[in-house]
């Protein structure tokens, strides 16, 4: 599969020490990677691993904060998409960058000299030629409106456009994520064909989160994890598919940073009373719909919910918190149903939810720390009396929380919007763990936090369980789940597809369950292509 002829040639594009942050979130951290002609180079990783950011940097859409980009061995800046194009980098974006109301010909003419009449007949002719070069059979109608085409056809049109502009490196950002399995297989064959073209071998950068696709077509696979390069693999003849698969799984989910997985020591006695019970919970009006989710969390127990993002975890959390009604089943807190109770009522009974959306639904950035701590019980004594806010009580309460949770802020009146992600998370934890908490749901608690804040957060979660709370931990970070949970369930397509006890061997088992479930749900993701156009 590999081409030793090209292996020693200067890479088309080299990235060295690339860094990129969005606010406090490190999207890419010191990433080195080379892309060569004649090679299909897969960028593999979970959501949020930094793959799309890397693709956007190659496309000239994002500028790195640091690091070097070398084109044909010369250091350069890719200042804009036009710059990328002129440097021979063609990009097929996840959401097709074609104007839906224009024909394909006009889309390809776009960006030409403003005073010129687009040479539509000539462009159409060149389009047919380029399509034929990649094995097209005249299916691509140059005069069809882009918006009327299927996603696969639009992707093909973008590849044709890149070829017409003499691209030497073709970057495809998650091209298969919204395709049917057959269309995805076609695309993978096409990438192979472009890389193997004897006359003009292209370099292909294929961004995906699907392990099997990576193994199917990658000459070289770079695994990204949490913005860092977790490793590189060249699947060859000396390696069985299963070995390669296990190696990649290890890179995807464990990464270089060896976090000592401490299994929570105090396993609760099997006799401990169930605190939170979810019984055959179903929500039809969700994407994906939640079906028959059953969970039992005992006092002092941490139940981890693993799975790829967007498989119903958020809907489950919102149903538990009272933010989303459910159709069937029930949720019991200490044996009593909470059906019909709102957020504030559930908060008072001790059912708490620390959202992953810290800036959106988690806190109000224009309010002080003190008020954010009380936001789920506005109007309650002693903080409000006769409708009047008692500032002294609010401040005193906030000072305690700042002390207890080590919130780095000037004082109780500091606005939440001025806090870093880690401190904002502490404010939320202080609020949700305050008072008579009995059960708490953590949604991706360490997402976007630096290592130290993440460690502090993990300590809080363990402490909450040790204090006798029932804890549900939703995370896409497998290390986190395995390190903290006594019981792990895997969600896919709105269902629980696996239940795995925590401890030895959980890591591999959960990883396998996730990748298996993803193959099953891949078919279900097709034909969502039209939502993205406008």
């Amino acid at each position: 599969m590999t081409h030793p002829v090209y292996a020693d040639a200067t890479p088309l594009v080299s990235l060295a020490g690339i860094r990129k942050s969005y606010g406090a979130v490190r999207a890419l951290d010191d990433v080195d990677v080379d892309f060569r002609a004649g090679e299909v180079h897969v960028l593999l990783g979970e959501n949020g691993a930094g793959k799309s950011t890397l693709a956007a940097i190659l496309a000239g859409v994002q500028q790195p904060d640091g690091g070097r980009i070398l084109l044909d061995g010369t250091e350069r800046r890719i200042a804009s998409p036009r710059d990328a194009m002129d440097s021979g980098i063609g990009v097929v974006f996840q959401h097709a960058q074609l104007v839906p109301s224009l024909s394909l010909v006009d889309n390809i003419a776009l960006g030409g000299p403003w005073w010129q009449t687009p040479q539509r007949a000539r462009i159409a002719q060149r389009m047919r030629e380029a399509d034929a070069r990649i094995g097209g059979t005249g299916r691509l109608d140059p005069f069809a409106r882009a918006g009327a085409l299927s996603l696969g056809e639009r992707q093909r049109a973008q590849i044709v456009r890149a070829l017409m502009r003499d691209s030497r490196l073709l970057v495809l950002d998650e091209p298969t994520s919204m395709l049917t399995p057959e269309a995805a297989a076609d695309l993978v064959r096409l990438m192979r064909r472009l890389a193997d073209d004897a006359a003009r071998p292209l370099g292909i950068v294929f961004v995906t989160h699907r392990l099997d696709e990576a193994l199917d077509c990658g000459d070289r696979i770079t695994v990204l994890r949490g913005g860092r390069k977790a490793g590189e693999l060249r699947p060859g003849a000396d390696m069985t598919r299963d070995t390669a698969r296990d190696t990649l799984l290890g890179m995807m989910f464990s990464g270089g940073l060896a976090q000592a997985p401490t299994i929570a020591a105090s396993l609760p006695a099997a006799s401990a009373a169930p605190v939170l019970e979810v019984q055959r919970l179903s929500i039809a009006d969700a994407d994906p719909p939640l079906r028959d989710v059953t969970l039992t969390v005992r006092a002092g127990e941490i139940v981890g919910i693993a799975g790829i993002d967007g498989n119903g975890q958020r809907e489950l959390a919102e149903a538990l918190a009272g933010q989303r009604p459910f159709d069937a089943g029930d949720i019991l807190l200490c044996g009593a149903s909470v059906r019909g109770l709102g957020v504030a009522a559930r908060y008072k009974r001790g059912l708490r939810y620390a959202s992953d959306d810290r800036h959106g639904e988690g806190t109000v950035s224009a309010l002080s720390i003190g008020l954010n701590l009380l936001i789920k019980r506005i109007g309650d004594a002693p903080f409000w009396r006769g409708g009047m806010e008692k500032l002294a009580a609010v401040d005193a309460h906030a000072r305690q929380a700042i002390e207890a949770f080590d919130i780095r802020a000037q004082g109780p009146r500091t606005l939440a919007g001025h806090l870093s992600g880690g401190n904002l998370q502490k404010v939320m934890l202080a609020r949700e763990l305050d008072g008579a908490a009995r059960a708490i749901v953590f949604a991706k608690p360490t997402h976007g936090l630096d290592v130290r804040s993440a460690a502090a957060c993990h300590a809080r979660i363990r402490a909450a369980a040790a204090a006798g709370l029932a804890v549900v931990l939703i995370s896409t970070d497998l290390d986190e789940i395995v390190a903290l949970s006594q019981q792990i369930v895997v969600m896919a397509g709105g269902r629980i597809v696996a239940r795995i006890p925590g401890g030895e061997g959980a890591h591999a088992a959960v990883g396998r369950a996730i990748s298996r479930s993803e193959d099953l749900s891949a078919g279900g993701l097709q034909d969502r292509s039209f939502g993205e156009a406008s």
């Binding site: 994002q62 960058q97 109301s101 776009l110 030409g112 403003w114 156009a533």
Partner: protein
Amino acid sequence: MMELMTTAFATALLAGAVTAGVPLLLAGLGEQMSQKSGVLNIGLEGMMLAGAYAAFVAALGTGDPWWGFAAGMVAGMGIAALMALLAVCLGLNQIVIGIALLLGVEGATAILHHLAFATTYPRLPPAPSWALPGLSHLPVVGPALFDRSPVVYAAVALVAVMVWIDRRTGFGLSLRAAGEHPSALDAAGGSVVRTRVAAVLAAGAGAGLGGAFMVIVGAGIFVPFMTNGAGFIAIVLAMLARGRPLMVLCGALLFGACLSATTALQVAGIDAPTDVVQMLPFAAVLLVLAIFGQGGALPAALGEAWTRGNPLGK
């Protein structure tokens, strides 16, 4: 009611429709281009008013209406340049900037007019007209359509130019892409910012020229707030035309006829209350919106600021 059908009434109505419609046409064509590129140019009225005042001052000072038209265009583009800088280059909210510019221009022109002309109220000499040989002697349409200021002919010719830009130039493609899917234009190597700036400046030029026409050909005098909603009618026209310049022409004549109905009815000797007659154009806007306004196909990214790499700015 028979006396309504006299030649004098028909001529006055048609001539008035053209006089009132040409500013709408000029501003509407500019606004249409701006909207196509994704910029909802709410400050259009302000650009018209700035153009009207600058045209008045220049035409009065030089005694030459052509300097007035030139000054009107430049003033409209000046306000448009502010709009482009704030709403396109810096990505601020288009509606807020548009309203601010309108209010600013209204205040500034009223004060300047008060300081300079409040006691004298000078008038401009009648604007020159070009009679088209052969056509200008036709009954009714001759004096109403074919013995007019050259700007009238230019405005109609501009409709054809706009159609040509849309269909035959790379800029026309860039305009539509910038309004429908700006990041696709960016990814294709075009410049969203440059396209939008050009379109906003064109809208300013059109509105400024329209304002100048109001002063030099229409009123012969500048009065504070004299555009009286014409800019907003032009915005509605541009929206209703759904990207077709010819529809702007039809709409401008229709609304121009409504606006000029007061004069025409007076010529015809009908004594309708002025307030009722002055409501006509705005009632017509409501009526036309109610009939044709449904399911309008406005550009998908209309009104949205765009910056590269912003996840919201698809």
